[in-house]
Symmetry: C2
Subunit: 267 residues, 2 copies
């Protein structure tokens, strides 16, 4: 029996998933959240499916031990490779970020020409293509892996010549294909939104799955009658597998406000 | 009692340490080598000292179980943070890459103005500064962390505008300080040697610790009477914690020749 007063568990390979936490906080201010950033093993996006599944299961297990009522996989690479395995293993609802992002893109596109950027793993998995074309088979999908975007955001190098040159190199092939919508298929990428927007121009709509994922979290909690009813003070906890101090410093940029002290966990 | 017919154990966070293996092979063609690349948890250079020590100890333990006669820490970040801990724990000789690199730089410099580039962890540790000034207190050291260089080399993005822009951004402050020697303080960086050489110009000598480390390995084996005497066919084994196929593909660029099949290990 799942306890509706339990927290929502959210994990990502690093800090990127905090962009999803930020949107869940905004939509569901009475819900408690436990966030796990696997910062010792970040990034996931360059690793093989087997390794990502192994690490995602370890993250889920650690959060389950804290009695979460729902698991949000706030990492596109882990959603691409591990969502099915986690749903098979777990008795609580498990949500990813790819289907919500695809839904938002289908709503946004006018021409049906949709670009998707993500980690090498996410793009290779073809999960965005499947999710987009499952919702609208007439959509044409153009994909591009952008492996340097995660290290750029983790470094905080989000303005200036370097991110501009990197973004232009990655995005040129998508622009040649006349996309009108671009899915930011990695929870790190919203921090590069300005650079990406400049590179693609005003005619291309950027879709960020964080807000759409928070909406799906809300709808699922309501449908499953798992919303926290009594207006208790919500609890926020942040767990990390590398040094907490680095995470707190970088994490505030992603979360948009000062963060509670993070706790180290052994992963 | 250490067996002189045992292999030399070498580990790195990923493929970079293969540049050291390449030089050991060239100097010591009768020696067997077991290489471990912790590719599931790469990079180490952005992680905290505590995490790097924990991971380095796990790598060393795994190689010890294969009866190595010497351990080479072919990763600057692990050498910076974990060498002392590994020497305390292990009964076999343990060599790092920082002291050999510093020795080569001291020999190379004419003006005593030495630049060092490395991961965030290596630079923060100040170990190169200590090693350089321990050998020659008159040397002035200028350091620069280059966190994007590892993802660039792991991606194979070693030519063109992007690595050029990144290298120029990182190296400009060092050039302003009129260095005449630059230590490539990360085993990944030799793959960016051309881009780095262009950015710093002909007047700056690049020092790569791989060859110097291989020389120290040779001298240490001789001094300790641990050289393999009988000219048996040397054995080469490659162990990795992420998918072997990706490692083999990228690894050949670092090793300089076709590589034996790699074996997956659980880390």
């Amino acid at each position: 029996m799942v306890d509706r007063h339990g927290a929502i568990g959210v994990f990502d390979s690093g800090v990127g998933g905090l962009t999803v936490v930020r949107q869940i906080e905004a939509r569901l201010p009475t819900e408690s959240i436990i966030y796990l950033g696997d910062t010792a093993r970040v990034p996931y996006g360059t690793k093989s499916p087997e390794t990502v599944v192994r690490y995602a299961k370890a993250c889920a297990q650690l959060l389950l031990e804290r009695d979460i009522k729902m698991l949000v996989v706030a990492c596109n690479t882990a959603s691409a490779f591990a969502l099915d395995a986690l749903r098979d293993d777990l008795d609580i609802p498990v949500l990813g970020v790819i289907e919500p992002g695809a839904q938002a893109a289908v709503r946004a596109t006018r021409t049906g020409r949709v670009g998707v950027i993500g980690t090498a793993g996410t793009i290779r998995s073809e999960r965005y293509r499947e999710a987009l074309q499952c919702q609208d088979p007439s959509i044409t999908v153009f994909s591009q892996a952008c492996p340097l975007f995660v290290p750029l955001t983790e470094e905080g190098w989000t303005t200036g010549d370097v991110p501009k040159t990197v973004a232009e190199a990655y995005l040129a092939p998508l622009l040649e294909n006349n996309i009108d919508t671009l899915v930011l298929g990695c929870t790190h990428y919203p921090l590069l939104k300005e650079v990406i927007a400049q590179a693609v121009g005003e005619a291309v709509t950027l879709v960020d799955s964080a807000d759409e994922t928070a909406l799906v979290v809300q709808e699922s909690l309501e449908a499953l009658k798992l919303c926290c009813e009594t207006p208790l003070l919500p609890q926020f906890r942040f767990l990390v597998s590398d040094a907490p101090s680095d995470f707190e410093q970088v994490g505030q940029r992603f979360l948009g406000h000062v963060m509670q002290e993070a706790e180290w966990v052994n992963l």
